[in-house]
Amino acid sequence: MTSATDSDQADHQVRTTGGLVIEDLGVSLTGKDVDVVDDIDLVLKPGEVVGLVGESGSGKTTVGTSLLNYSRAGAHISSGKVLLEDRDVLQLPWKEVRKLRGEEIAYVPQDPASALNPSIRIGKQLVELQQLRGIGTSESRLAAARAGLEEVGLPSDDEFLRRYAHQLSGGQVQRVALAMAFLPKPKVLVLDEPTTGLDVTTQKMVLDTMAALCRTYGVSALYVTHDLAVVANIADRVAVMYAGQIAELGPRDTIFANPSHPYTRALLDSIPHLSQARALKGIPGRTPSPGRRPGGCRFNDRCSFAVDRCRDEVPALREIAPEHEVRCHRVGEIGTWDINIGTVPDADPDKPRDVILSVDGLNVFYGRKQVVHDVTFDLAKGEVVALVGESGSGKTTISRSVGGLHKDWTGTLTFEGRPLATSARKRTSDDRRRMQYIFQNPYLSLNPRLTIEQIIKRPMELFGLAKGKEATERVVELMGQVALGSQMLHYQASRLSGGERQRVAIARALAAEPDVMICDEITSALDVSVQGSIVELLEGLRLERGISMLFVTHNLALVRSIAARVEILQAGKVVEEGSVVRVMDTPQQDYTKTLLGNSPRID
């Protein structure tokens, strides 16, 4: 709870300098007495970027849109103040709120592909607000739109203004959204995971653009994300949210050098580093949804430092150092944190390799268009080889060809010395069994009509590995291995979280007792903390079962922690390959250097 003096101080700050103050903000579910977020106190100083970090379900987006007095259907803002220069946004009449949106507080949406209206040309969307408000003439609005596009590094000619959103790439759409948000020169900007789903180069470009614009116009920004590594590069201060409350708040350097809440530490432990391999760790359990949050400290059921007091007593946000606030009973009792905790030796580049799968001269076509050119690499037993590249580099195409899902390719694919047919249909049942594919999006790769038991059992029945009761026992065993409780046996996939679904997908692949697993961006749709636990799981499987993995990703830091060898792809060609240590410590090619330079890092 904020004391009176705190808010007085904050008020004072606003009057002299502008910015935005959030006081005791709460959002509840409509019709129920359940808080989605509560007790949020946060100050955005002018020109300052504040990172708001948390897992899915922590309420971070809810806080973000509350600044514009907006809540999604089913929830409403139940308490608190959002002060913009003495005016409480939450108490303003509806018409003034609408006027304030866009002009004074702007919002940059999460998903670049779906955030622009598919039926309106971008030139029109850019000037729409000004046109409705009657700001300027049509010429001046058009000129402003062109200038705005140039500011974000996009072309500003008529041809570009006449395009629709689908005629732009993901990075271009996101920069159009940025330009649109900046056009009315707002004072405050709310960015809701604007770079999720973009590859590192585009992400860097968008982040740089955003930072430059904020500096130029003195805009305060709230940057909402699940990825602490992104925040490390752009934020001045960081607020870590858990289960609807701020768990820790402080200047960026303090948060990364001296994280004091066990949750912040756990988040940091789940992030892979570029400079050194780490044994990534997830956070056990999952973020409790509103209404199911435990009493006492909300993190107590997932916290490795929890004591009885944590279960009984609700902790307050306390200042432990200037500007550094933590909501934990045991601050100061749980020791210090070191960024190098969890560091492990990199994969040994000189380890003898026993090749199980080799790809030679792979050319892949979509119709007449060749998308992969003469790619050659191999995979040894118990080894992880990473295919890395930006979107459109052909990494997924290669993995689909190797898996036999795409058959329009030439070259040789040798599995234990035997050539494999192009399509999975033509391969023997045993070859199909021994090579399993795990897809990127666990929300789409599990049949929503089947129970988890049926999903995992299917490969066993298909390949005649087990039947009936024996199969069920094996399903329970496999679910144990991927850290899913057997109570989920009869659940349907819709009841599971993203991370749990991906575990089911992994268990399904394991059910076939494969020798090779092809993992196609399997963590990119998931929170960083969930990614950490999935990587932990895969590493365990590799060591125990000696499974080889082809790991497709755009995240180089992740590669460092999981893979032994890496293939850097650009436009369907391998530009650099070798052991992870060699490629990442002494990159030879400019492209690899650019990728490394653009990757967000906290080390």
Binding site: A115, E128, T201
Partner: protein, 344 residues
Amino acid sequence: MTQEATLPDPLAEVAPPRGRSGGAAWGIWLARRLGLAVLTLWLVSIVVFLATAALGDPVRAILGRDYGTNVARREQLEAQLGIGDSIITRYFDWLGGLLTGDFGTSLANQQPVWGQISSSVVNSLVLVLLSALAMVPLAFGIAMISSHYRRKRPDTVIQTILLALAGVPEFVTGILLVSVFSTTVFKIFPAVTLVAPGGAPWDEPKSMVLPVLTLVIAVTPYVSRIVRATLLEVLDSDYVELARLKGIPEPVVMRKHALLNAIVPGIQVVSLQLAWLAGGVVLVETLFQYPGVGRQLVDSVRNHDVAMVQALSMIIAGVYIVVNLVADVLSILLTPRARTAISS
């Protein structure tokens, strides 16, 4: 480091669309669709011909009990239908006639078919078009109001009424309207359409009201429910949320951002309903004695007038195909992604 220099050129990321010069591509696309439409029409002609002329003995069907007694009439019919020729010859004779605009001669009164049906075709088209003109704005308006109040009381009331209307057969609606507006309660509109010889039904505009109203009530619920469902989906989309967060007033969000993206499923269902109206107005036309194709089709079937049935079936099929073609073209024109895919 000079990272900026190695960044990909934003223009190169996506090939620019070829702009408005895709005329040739459009021409090819349209030619293909027209070709398919003609092919469909041809297949329909085979089905219509087989069903009406080739199966069984049409002359026996026409004459019934007179088949054995009225030899002169039988021979005259056999000559007119060309029973002596092979079925293929007869089909091509008929098809050739259709292509040259000769729909044949009515068996019932020996008049050219086209002369008899042309006015009823026009009458029916006018009826359907008037209904469509009233129905489309009404259905979209109701859908917008309903989705604006989603799951609140006005929405529930509207949806209940629509569902009830959709469940009532159109002739029951018609009878109800007649009893309310022309017989028992009020006497505002005529209950039947009386057309002077050589005149048209719209010479007496009042007489058009009840048939149009009946059709509008029959069709609006379907269209409205589909458009509402699409609108609800669109209103949940990220771009509508962004428009609201951008400070766009709600009516503009609904009109510009939401409706524009919900209109295509609306067009599809409107086209299906219009096509249904073209052939399915039989009951309504009969009820109001409206001189349209539906009524004429029923009469012709009753009279075993093969030539008339064939001609009317082909015209109804033609309307189906044209309406669907128009709907497809409109859908593509209104979906930028589909439109630009054709021209580039």
